[in-house]
Symmetry: C2
Subunit: 320 residues, 2 copies
């Protein structure tokens, strides 16, 4: 069992020094690689790895075609500005091929895990001659995976997968004792800008986790367009996390006086401290109505928008 | 084209006398039958028919297994109290058999129309030797059917179906010039109690229209239990109509610390004058959260509740 390190007890500067030293010891004179998604967890790990290893760390942004609008470019630009080079790898075809025909949530997560760690990362690690993968796993991911609630895409050893044997590298998880609030303190301490360390959580499988049913490029484009609107309208809601989810169910709508059997987008917006429990944000009705009006007008095929009003538990924060 | 009679221009007492006279003329010395669902439209037609024909009218409540909790008994009791005898016909098997395996909304509506008018009613009309069916069609039903938005279960001639040829009876529609607000005035004038003439609209296909995907007895039971909670919690919301809808999509939830891949219920609550356009009611957040808490606790298998925030158009009031 991993020992929890509570945000209130955390000395972020001391934590950073300790992790940098541990990473140096573990990697020795070798090379490491890490995947940067732009979220606070992987961004923090990138900075810890960069401090520890300098140019012996290769930071990769895997463009799986499931990110939000403009995200790959924005993340790469930010880290280059911090002196951390980022390789963008276009793996869109591999992911969409792996997801084709799947609608079960666990099968979709499994396909993403496999494609990410074996197909895409396995090859990159070999090409870079890296023996270590730095990984942004946090304690909440472990809890939920062990409890069988959902498989986080980045949990391997906890579910009995040996990445060295199966994928050819060892995994280092410097944030494993922390929850989200602790990670934010460390993110600030390693010099990340405010819009990263206060950034809303964004899940590993990215927009694939925001599509109920089959994940196709077209359906991801629909939820991506809705996400842009939802995040813009809820930017000042003070929420822990907000999201748009594309449903597979279709509902009857009307457009220009005629029936349109269209799509529904569900909006979720959470108040939470550490993601273990959460309650829906009291988003004002006017804001919700404006989101619905914009999404149904600006996103082709969407005729209906709902707002989730359930607490976690019994809901989870993501739908898939 | 039917000429609209606006609620503001309507003299309800004169309208009642006129319709009673018209029904008497049309039916002559024959017999008529009518289907009572308990909604304001069919309740008003029942009273008009009763005034016109007395015991030459047979009023039938078709129990298709799709009504709300306790509804068949409550409706029959109310009308018996008003001196109108009601025959309850148990047609549950016929409806669930017709609905088995269907998930397309239009196919479901078609199956209900066919079962109602041909299988169940065709037989009853013959048994009663009735040549006339009194029917609660209102102008909004006609508009939406002609526009191809959705098929109302009670529209026949407007879509080119000849009920006399196909089902063996003629249809009389005394409310066809009215919209909902006009019907409420007439309902009051014919002596119906307030909880009928102010009653929320409830759709013809009943809870079958509140189930996305296949309509089975189990799924109807789920949405029926959710409906009881939603109607109780929103009774004082001053809304035109409110409803619970069971989705076919499943979402990830958690219960007692473990994953539960469960069901989602969508709540809709509408402000509207005449159902042609509508906006979501500004239900207070506390009420929405309490509905979610109750539905996920009291209705087995439901882990998630949403509230619809879209206007009509582009939404419609019902989902199916």
């Amino acid at each position: 069992m991993v020992q929890e390190l509570r945000a209130g007890d955390l000395n972020a500067d001391r934590f950073v020094s300790q992790q940098v030293e541990d990473i140096r010891k573990a990697v020795g004179k070798g090379r490491a690689i890490n995947a940067l998604s732009g979220g606070v967890d992987s961004s923090t790990v990138t900075m810890l790895g960069h401090k520890a290893l300098g140019d012996r760390l290769t930071t990769v942004f895997v463009d799986h075609g499931l990110m939000r609008a403009g995200e790959p470019e924005a993340v790469a630009r930010l880290f280059r500005g911090l002196g951390v080079p980022v390789d963008i790898v276009d793996a869109r075809d591999a992911f969409f091929r792996a997801l084709r025909g799947l609608s079960d949530p666990e099968e979709k997560r499994e396909a993403i895990t496999r494609t990410f760690y074996r197909d895409v990362f396995g090859g990159l690690v070999k090409a870079k001659d890296a023996r270590f993968l730095l990984h942004g796993t946090i304690l909440t991911d472990v809890d939920e995976t062990v409890a069988g609630i959902k498989r986080q895409h980045n949990i391997l050893s906890q579910i009995g997968v040996d990445p060295e044997k199966e994928f050819g590298y060892r995994v280092l998880e410097p944030l494993i004792q922390l929850r989200k609030d602790g990670v934010r303190k460390v993110a600030k301490a390693v010099g990340l800008p405010r819009d990263v360390y206060e950034r809303m959580p964004f899940l590993g499988p990215a927009l694939a986790g925001r599509v109920i049913g089959e994940v196709t490029p077209e359906r991801v484009e629909t939820v991506r367009a809705a996400t842009t609107i939802v995040e813009a309208e809820l930017a000042n809601a003070g929420a822990f996390q907000c999201m748009a989810i594309l449903h597979d169910d279709r509902v009857t709508g009307m457009r220009a006086g005629r029936r349109e059997f269209g799509h529904q987008v569900e909006v979720r917006c959470w108040d939470s401290v550490d993601a273990r429990t959460a309650t829906p944000t009291r988003v004002p009705h006017d804001v919700l109505f404006r989101i619905a009006e914009r999404v149904t007008r600006e996103v082709p095929g969407v005729v209906s928008v709902t707002y989730n009003v359930t607490a976690k538990p019994p809901s989870t924060m993501e739908a898939v």
